[in-house]
């Protein structure tokens, strides 16, 4: 089972990101579960959502305590909460930032991870360019598909279009493609 924890703030589409990742996994014939962490919904509040992906039915209902992947949509959270709690030694970290891990002050926390398991993408900038809105969620999903083969970029496209049919979906697909290309080039 592959477990994901997505951190962000209210309004950034954290819950939608989890839902789309689960749809992408479903599109590949896998079982998947996406669950928000059930906080009160308000702009700016720290938000967490979880995704599980497996080849068999997922019945586990506890929060994701030992993630294989952390997606951090807002790097200011590193000083607010323990984002890395429970991250597996062979886990992945994907951060929405222009800075390096060292500049963010998380060099130590990410050092133990295997090479290529930490990626940074300026997702909000890409979102502003392609969507004219500071919602980094679909951008980061695109970037994630460049890190490993848990889900394919095409499946993320399908998920985006299911969640946001029409023009908005198309714009998000373009943004996700751009993020994938940036992450793949790194």
């Amino acid at each position: 089972m592959f477990q994901v924890r997505i951190h962000g703030r209210g309004g950034q589409g954290v819950v939608s990101a989890a839902e789309m990742l689960s749809i992408a996994a479903f599109e590949e014939g896998k079982h998947s579960q996406a669950v928000p962490s059930f906080g009160s919904e308000r702009m700016g509040a720290p938000v967490v959502a979880y995704v599980r992906i497996d080849d068999k039915e997922i019945e586990l209902r506890e929060p994701v305590l030992e993630p294989d992947l952390l997606i951090v949509q807002d790097p200011t959270l590193f000083t607010a909460i323990d984002v890395f709690a429970g991250l597996r030694d062979d886990g992945y970290v994907l951060i929405n930032t222009r800075k390096t891990a060292e500049e963010l002050g998380i060099g130590e926390a990410t050092q133990r991870l295997p090479e290529g398991h930490v990626a940074t993408v300026a997702a909000t900038e890409l979102a502003m360019r392609h969507l004219k809105r500071p919602t980094p969620n679909t951008v980061l999903l695109g970037a994630f598909t460049a890190m490993n083969d848990i889900v394919k970029l095409e499946s993320v496209f399908k998920a985006i279009q299911k969640k946001f049919p029409g023009k908005i979906g198309e714009m998000n697909v373009t943004a996700a493609q751009a993020a994938h290309d940036v992450a793949a080039a790194d």
Binding site: S32, V35, P36, E59, L60, E62
Partner: protein
């Protein structure tokens, strides 16, 4: 058709397949998405001959269903928490009048203090109201049990609550097999009411019943629920024949045959428990689980048959009868009263506190050692409780318990990180 959808959306699709004629709704978290999705479907013409009523309150929501059901229309609503309390007079009226309304309860705690998260406080507040109460473990079951609920309600002329854990199920995405319309039509016949409000043939409903007949009316309410004990398994079997899935029924055993210790619970927590119990069995511990799927009627005989050979039972429930203890435990002890079985009562997950594999295993091990307090408050922070008790001993004007505890939780959490 397999879909990856939110639990609420899956329920909305299931309800739509049941061809409701009136849906009456008032929003309250966490059931809101269900009626929102149904509203969208009705507006788009996706449900034939269906009227969607936006009412002014939960009391209005269920009262409208009482009227429409009395007029012979298949009627549906959904609620949670405080919304259930606000409609409580109508809850009793719907069952007392024998109206087969189906209502989803997106289970949520009851305040004060206000809390939007999951526990069973709302459903339990109506446990003696005469409704059938079915608890589901997954979103697939939520779909399947709603379809069975309409059939059951209409066969018995009794309203049915389908209870699903708020957020954990209502807001989670998972793979769900949404049945075909033809399958649902084959299973669920058109609604044939026992009583109809019709201007052409005037009748009165809701008559005053005095001491001369009230006992008999109440007896029949109980009798009907006892009939449901036969009907629920029959319908689950009929459902399985058409849809190929084991959903519904009175109880569900998870390797509890021959187990020394059996955990009894309801709702979605069984999923996490199954993993814990598999691990414990692998370590040589004789332990299984039994999910109660029908809480009202309470399947006493089935539970007796399943549990008679157990040495001990650990009841885990997300609700508390304040001043008494565990509600499910109380009911189960009555069912097992003449068996020499130890019944431990554990209460947890209140107001949405996460239930994890690690803390469940610790609790089960404590139960197996027969070291549980009565009742046992799962994963409670006793240091926080002690602080408040100390404060109350020290000063008369100790303030609001909820505010004090919140502050203490913050202080203790900060101290732990230093």
């Amino acid at each position: 058709m397999l879909k990856q959808v939110e639990g609420s959306h899956a329920v909305a699709e299931a309800v739509a397949l049941c061809r409701p004629e009136v849906i009456s709704a008032y929003p309250i978290t966490p059931q809101t998405h269900i009626v929102e999705d149904l509203g969208t479907m009705v507006k788009a013409g996706g449900i034939e001959n269906c009227e969607f009523l936006l009412v002014e309150s939960e009391f209005g929501a269920l009262s409208a269903c009482i009227g429409s059901s009395a007029a012979g229309a298949r009627s549906y609503t959904a609620t949670s928490s405080q919304g259930m309390l606000f409609m409580m007079e109508a809850v009793y009226n719907a069952s007392g009048m024998g109206l087969p309304i189906v209502m989803t309860v997106g289970n949520r705690a009851i305040g004060a203090p206000i809390n939007i998260w999951n526990d069973w406080g709302d459903a339990m507040s109506a446990r003696d109201a005469g409704w059938i109460q079915l608890f589901v473990e997954s979103n697939q079951q939520a779909v399947d049990v709603h379809i069975q609920a309409f059939k059951l309600a209409e066969q018995l002329s009794l309203p049915v609550m389908v209870c699903m854990d708020g957020f954990i199920l209502t807001h989670s995405y998972s793979r769900v097999d949404i049945p075909e319309q033809e399958q649902v039509d084959a299973f669920l016949p058109a609604f044939e009411p026992r009583q109809v409000l019709d201007p052409a043939v005037p009748v009165s409903m809701g008559a005053m019943v005095g001491p001369e007949a009230f006992t008999e009316v109440r007896y029949l309410a109980h009798h009907k629920q006892m009939e449901a004990l036969e009907l629920i398994p029959e319908q689950a079997a009929a459902f399985q024949q058409i849809f190929g899935r084991d959903s519904g029924g009175l109880t569900k055993s998870f390797e509890c045959e021959g187990a020394e210790t059996v955990v009894v619970t309801m709702g979605s927590v069984i999923g996490t428990m199954k993993e814990v119990l598999a691990g414990m069995r692998a370590d040589g511990i004789s332990i299984g689980a039994l999910a109660v799927r029908s809480f009202r009627p309470f399947p006493k005989d089935t539970l007796r048959a399943c549990l008679q050979n157990a040495k001990r039972v650990i009841v885990f429930e997300k609700c508390l009868a304040v001043g008494m203890g565990g509600i499910l435990a109380m009911n189960l002890r009555m069912a097992l009263k003449d068996f020499p079985i130890r019944v431990h009562s554990a209460i947890g997950g209140l107001g949405g506190r996460p239930i994890t594999r690690a803390n469940l295993r610790r609790m089960f091990e404590k139960g197996i050692r027969d070291e549980m307090e009565e009742p046992h408050f799962h994963d409670i922070q006793m240091d926080i409780v002690e602080r408040e008790l100390e404060r109350e001993r020290a000063q008369r004007r100790s303030g609001s318990i909820a505010e004090n505890i919140l502050q203490d939780v913050g202080v203790v959490a900060a101290a732990k990180t230093i």
